[in-house]
Amino acid sequence: MQFVVRIEIKLKESILDPQGQAVRGGLTSLGYKNVVDVHVGKYLELLIEGSKEQDEVERQVEEMCQRLLANPVIEDYSFQVESAGGIG
């Protein structure tokens, strides 16, 4: 069984995002003056293989985010786990 996991990580809403501000400035200077906010984040894609059930994989990814992939002090994360088929 294979699962594709798509993870998005970005700074918490309450924390000033200097990169997002700079990108917004760039868009504004190109004339896109209706852009009021930009957040720059990270996108990770994991391919997970094995006999785990979907909810087990979700628990495991949650743990990965907490321990390594995100820094919960400053970042929020969200993810989707999708079955990619395979035998089983």
Binding site: L11, I15, L16, P18, Q19, A22, K42, L68, L69, N71, V73, I74
Partner: protein, 232 residues
């Protein structure tokens, strides 16, 4: 005083720190590679140097934090051992949870490499006892992710416990936008210390025109150790 400097893949200030502890302080010094679980108990101070461990991938210090030797460093710190993290070393200590808070990208999005004026906020630590309270130190910074962040309650705790050790003199001197102009903090017990500026880069007069303020940090360690062994 026995010093250990840890080298991670991508550390680039490890030799400089080692040079200061061995050639300038003339103390027994070792460089330890990250992927072995060395017994640190025989050392009096462990230093995590600056650089770009693991290419700063994901977040600065995030991957180094799980290097095998870090288990030993955490154990050593929890037993009261002196641990100092400089720049990337500071970032690793934050990721490891040995110090509170986190680092963000510099507010101006630039890698800033220049001398900075620091005010000594707490001179009652093993790392700053050779400085006067409020003394201004001139020590260079060189980082792209030194924008220290901690939430409001966390900051109040730091301030109440005198854990803010070094501040950039004012907003103008602050190279990265850090909360409360913070440049260096210690843990509540006072044995773990992290600072963004590089004291090892200004520890020898021959290196330049800005003096040897960095030596005051290293002399503080020696001074603390001497007092400790005298008290025993």
């Amino acid at each position: 005083m026995k010093f250990a400097t840890i080298t991670f893949p991508g550390s680039n200030c490890d030799q400089d720190v080692y040079f200061v502890t061995s050639n300038i302080l003339k103390q027994p010094s070792a460089m330890l590679w990250h992927d072995e679980q060395f017994d640190l108990a025989s050392y009096d101070c462990v230093i995590l140097p600056g650089g770009f461990s693991y290419g700063d991938y994901l977040r600065s210090g995030a991957i180094a934090r799980f290097a095998p030797i870090m288990e030993r460093v955490i154990e050593y710190a929890n037993n009261g051992g002196l641990v100092m993290g400089i720049c990337n070393g500071f970032q690793i200590l934050l990721e490891a949870g040995l110090l509170p808070g986190a680092m963000k990208v510099n507010q101006n999005l630039k890698f800033v490499c220049r001398y900075s004026k620091l005010a000594v906020v707490n001179n009652q630590t093993p790392f700053t006892n050779c400085c006067k309270a409020g003394e201004l130190l001139s020590i260079p910074v060189a980082h792209g992710e030194g924008n220290y962040y901690i939430d409001r309650p966390g900051l109040e705790l730091l301030q109440a416990n005198n854990q803010v050790v070094l501040r950039y003199r004012d907003q103008q001197e602050n190279p990265n936008g850090s909360v409360d102009n913070i440049a260096g903090i210690c843990n509540q017990a006072g044995n773990v210390f992290g600072m963004m500026p590089h004291p090892e880069r200004c520890a020898e007069a021959i290196l330049g025109n800005n003096g040897t303020d960095g030596l005051k940090i290293f002399y503080s360690l020696l001074n603390y150790q001497q007092k400790e062994s005298g008290a025993r």
